[in-house]
Amino acid sequence: MKKMTKQIVALGLTGLMAVSGLAGCGKAGTTDTNAPSKSGTTNETGSETGSADQGEPISLKWYMAGSGPQADVKTVEAAIDQYLLDTYEMNIDLQIIATDYANYPQKMQMVISSGEEYDICWTSSWNNNYYDNVNKNAFIPLDDLLKENAPELLGSMETSVWDAVKVKGSIYGVPSQQIFPKQNYVVIVKEYADKYGLDVSKVTKLSDLEDFFLQVKKDNPDIYPFAASSNGLLSKHTLAVGLEPIIGLGIPGVFKLGDESLTVYNQFETEEAAQFYDMMHRWVEEGLVRKDAVTVSDNAVPDMKAGKHIAAINATFKPGVEAIESANFGNKEVVFATLSEPYLATDNLVSSLNAISQTSEHPEVAMKFLNLVNTDATLYNLLCFGVEGTHYTVNADGTVTSDDSKGYNPNIDWMLGNQFNALLREGQAPDIWEKTKALNGSAVESKALGFSFDSTPVTNEIASVSAAYDQYGKILETGGADPAQVLPEFREKLKASGADKIIAEMQKQVDEWKSSK
């Protein structure tokens, strides 16, 4: 009963808030996105929203993924509410609802389809699908909201970035700024590279490592030098073989790198993929890769830690990756060889977005809040790390240490907002964000950057090929099946599932997009 009264009051108030919200608070941020404008934001219209302190705060509900709800989230929410009230005279009641990655898509499907009221949700191309939600009309277009309520946020990223997240001409989500381009690489435990005289600077493609791996295997029969797991290998290696998937590796449809004509190919019919499958199968037979790699969970990290593997590939080379990979290999020293240029495609920009719900009662406030999350470092770090002293400690060099036992350690900076405002974690180099920005700036842009595929005409075919890829793709990528026998079967299955129709539809849309540009 109490809850209901509260809801009614909240409902009445939201109307009021929406009106006063339109008048705008926090309009007066500086255009410099990196300097959090703590003092300069007491705004002209402050008195209007200021009256909100006496009233009921506007509640903002934010759904996000991660490892699950944090035990002490209430403290963090309260700290954020207080900070927003003190600094921006924004009287909101933030509710963070965190679910784990595995259940997030399902939970969001319930929340969205049931028409539940909420304000912001995290969405992406790989979890809680952005395009599907836009097709369902789950989000509202943000173009005008951004211009009116979040000019700093709008200015913080290049137009090409905003263009890339557009669907049918409108922006439906705010990308979280972070490392954008992909650059495929291979990582090798240094001890072995040194012992067998491997010069990593000469390694330009994966096959260059075969002799080295064979030598390692000869002396250490218990080691499977090259790590592979149920996550497959090719999705981490597409650029290195010269392909750019349009929706994702599992769905037929790629461009070839450097192809000006933007012809769409079925990747599973290409020579590039076939060669990769052949090599992996050979490596399994030579004992360089586990024959049951496709059943290995946890991305083979426990095996890497235990010293069963000495090399692995990954999709994105980025500043700070040394620490991560070294931890994966049980804190051994590692060396790297990049296998492609840093490359930027549409998919990299829809990998983490925050969208405003169709059911939000006060989208302007939500937009303003997102603006601050992305531009105010203090607010952002409250979200990422919690309250200083309670949830994390600052070390002498300015880096922070946090752990799960303190009750708040979501570890999802890249999901929440502009990662360049994040405090440095222990072990991260001070120039990590500068370097990342430089890498973002230096990336080779895809010719199709900004093109997004509308899958509605081929939904049924996409469902069928997704299942076919799961059945054959990963086992071929990890060498567990003989391509001579299985690849034709796979191609057959794809044909029967309507791969050609998908390719034709993609080509059609690409051509239309090209001519409209």
């Binding site: 490892s67 784990d100 595995a102 979890n127 991560i324």
Partner: protein, 295 residues
Amino acid sequence: MVQSKQEKIANKVITVALILLALFCVVPILYILSASLSDEIALTREGYSLIPRGFSLEAYKYILESPKSIISAYGVTILVTLAGTAVSLIVTTMLAYVIARKDFRLGRVFAFMIFFSMLFNGGLVPTYIMVTKYFHLKDSLWALMLPYIILPWHVFLMKGFLSDIPTSLIEAAKIDGAGEIKSFFRIIVPISKPALATVGLFIAFTYWNDWYQSMLYIDSSNINSLQFYLYRIMNNIQYLSTSMQAGNITIDIANLPSETARMALCILAAGPMLIIFPFFQKYFVKGLTVGAVKG
């Protein structure tokens, strides 16, 4: 009863066969127990065995390091299980008794209705809408408790047991002048103890093993159930190691709980129910119904 030699041999054979079957059921959990007590690196290197690889309590230490979540999860699960089972058992038994009564006019209609609901449901979204928008149960313990008060499966199971009650017994109660409700509580419930114990146990297990309702309806971290706590960790890791993530995002898998910690969680989640089990067993007594008729 005097046992013949033949019967003694038969008993031995049965015992041996059951021992084998029991081992078949128990050995896997011994592997899990042993894994939870193993050293992580040694476990990955050498694989599972019945004797822990390089004995280590690290996994349990890791879980109990921040006991807040797990203690509150235990609390929630125990509370929901106790209260839910009590209410569900009464409501289920009443409904089951009604459809078990062959002389009740609407018995078959009700049975069909229950069966129909077992197969057809509107799907998750409408249920979600009802629970959140109309029942206003989101983020409350009620959301965990109410969905399982009536499960068609339990009703039919109970009906199966109650159908055994001899009609003469009900007739006798009627002659005594007791109304249906009175005779249900005074006569039917006391003589159906084995049935109540069995179905009650199943209901308790349903509550104990449930994670799904928590996933859908609970947003606050302090009302998560134990199974959801476990399930979340297990499935998250499984998801992250099989789903294709966008390439430029790296989710730090190295920081997630190790395999040994996951096994330890499994032991902690299953343990209490196995201890409770024998308590229910004292109600499995032969021939209660008949004794009541005679008495």
